[in-house]
């Protein structure tokens, strides 16, 4: 007997009888006997719930939580309490993809709202229902551009998150797409280098804003240069900054993509997060993934359905734009609730708070004289400093004191020796920042 299996011996007997076989083994009679596994599995014995609790407690105790000044693609954000309460509702958590719209209006409603909010933040005309994460969203944007232009090369700024670039490279490799990096100067994407590299082979230019190093880029003339070349302008963005920063639409981008982790999703050791993609009317039908649209039922009532599904893999099969089958629905809901409850003013306040905390942190760190500014970097919530002390030792020391310090940039590129990238979000308090700085001072 096992708590997830309802079949009593009587049930089994009756059902076997109805089927017309004598035993459960007979149900597998057509399978060649020699492939049946009689292995005594090297698996743990079934644990009771209490044993599971103890086991997971022990396991989780082998992780350490820190007060974090590390960003680099995953950020310590405030998660409002109502999110967990709402996303754990069984109607949201345990339901399937909304292929039967009549009983999935719940899911379809929040997906419509997600699409609306992403369009509002990015300034774009259409958004899909979400994709796996920011990196794969960028790869999908790359595919859109390749298909739309029928060209085979993309230019990617070296100021894009290296982990995103790694994913782009993998997908490009298996589709014989060429990737070339645009150089950076002082943590800004070089316009000169862009101009040098733009040509008729280029399907798209991919940039990030704020970029990986935290810089808020101006990208002046990028729009004209890219569009004159008949390429697509793809911008990977942090959506939490868009309440305050110039939008991809205002920059003239064709596709906005990125990760919604900063919209209230915890670190989660890297996942689940949620990717988003938004574009202009022109490229609507090239967008991969699910899209929810509004319509009416036979009685004239408003309702929502998955639409433009003909593009999706399950109908076009090998002609599909991509092979995405699912979105990250529940994580999209997570961010929708976040954006709704923070609302117009909250989204602005949170962004400003992160901005202020980061600038205060930079000021204080520079005042210790253990760091100096590298170049004139205009940043949002992450910034690069040059360390005058042994960075590895400093970071180890701070770790021992319970602080996760900034990213040692030589991990990204050996030429960034002694450079460190700090981050402060809205979650950091003045006390935490002051204490962190004090420890740096006494190191």
């Amino acid at each position: 007997m096992f708590k997830y299996f309802p079949h009593t011996n009587k049930d089994i007997e009756e059902m076997l009888s109805k089927i017309g076989v004598a035993s459960l083994e007979e149900l597998f009679a057509e399978i060649p006997a020699h492939i049946k596994t009689n292995k005594d599995f090297d698996l743990p014995s079934a644990k009771s719930e209490q044993e599971i609790r103890k086991h997971m407690q022990d396991l989780s105790n082998r992780n350490e939580e820190y007060t974090s000044f590390l960003g680099a693609g995953s950020y310590d954000v405030y998660t409002p309490s109502i999110i967990g309460a709402l996303t754990s509702r069984q109607e949201f958590l345990t339901s399937y993809t909304p292929y039967q719209p009549e009983i999935s209006q719940g899911t379809l409603t929040y997906i419509f709202e997600f699409q609306s909010m992403i369009c509002e933040l990015t300034g774009m005309d259409v958004s899909n229902a979400s994709v796996y994460d920011g990196a794969t969203a960028t790869a999908e944007a790359m595919f859109m551009a390749i298909a739309a232009t029928k060209r085979n090369k993309v230019l990617v700024s070296s100021a894009v998150n290296p982990r995103v670039i790694a994913v782009l490279r993998t997908y490009a490799k298996y589709r014989d797409i060429e990737i070339e990096l645009i150089e950076t100067e002082s943590f800004y994407t070089s316009k000169t280098d862009l101009v040098n590299k733009l040509n008729h082979e280029v399907a798209a230019v991919i940039v990030q804003n704020p970029n990986f190093f935290g810089t808020i880029e101006e990208f002046s003339e990028f729009e004209e240069l890219i569009h004159n070349n008949k390429s697509l302008y793809i911008m990977n963005v942090d959506p939490s900054t868009l309440s305050v920063l110039k939008t991809p639409r205002e920059y003239g981008a064709d596709i906005a993509c990125g990760d919604g982790q900063t919209l209230g999703i915890p670190y989660n050791f890297g996942g689940p997060y949620v990717g988003f993609m938004a574009t202009t009317e022109k490229y609507l039908r090239r967008m991969p993934g699910r899209i929810c649209g509004m319509t009416n039922d036979v009685d004239g009532k408003r309702g929502f359905v998955l639409t433009l599904q003909a593009r999706e893999q399950h109908i076009r099969r090998e002609k599909a734009n991509s092979n995405i089958c699912s979105n990250q629905s529940l994580m999209a809901l997570h961010t929708v609730i976040y954006m709704a409850v923070m609302g117009k003013q909250g989204l602005i306040d949170v962004a400003k708070m992160a901005y202020n905390n980061a600038h205060y942190l930079e000021e204080k760190l520079l005042a210790t004289k253990k760091f100096e500014k590298v170049d004139k970097q205009v940043f949002f919530k992450e910034f690069v400093l040059k360390s005058k002390v042994d960075l590895e030792k400093l970071n180890e020391y701070l770790l021992e004191k319970g602080f996760l310090s900034g990213l040692d940039l030589k991990q990204v590129d050996p030429k960034f020796k002694d450079l460190v990238m700090f981050c402060a979000t809205e979650v950091r308090t003045k006390n935490e920042i002051d204490e962190f700085v004090r420890l740096v001072e006494v190191f």
Partner: protein, 125 residues
Amino acid sequence: MSKILENLKYAASHEWVRVEDGFAYIGITDYAQDSLGSIVYIEVGEVGDEVAQGEEFGAVESVKAASDLLSPVSGEIVEVNENVLDNTEDVNGDPYGSWLIKVKMSDESELDNLLDPKQYEESLD
């Protein structure tokens, strides 16, 4: 029973051709529109684009399916039927009266590679 017109040539991929003074008017057959269901979107090349026999010149989408449009002849697109592109349901209602593109043929002998009405009808079985 799929409707098939006598004065047209057909491609096995369910496009029809009507020839008039060296120009080819191209559309999709009754069988095609019936299989697709209500057509919601049609995309074709632009005036000036080159097309080749058997090669893709656009796509047609319904709620449940999407299909490439393959050109039955080679040549240059000289006109696109904007009216039908805006009213895609016309293709369902009157497939043979709703041409999609008009092509100036580069090689009229290619028409011999196509199916005549009887051959097309047989191919549907």
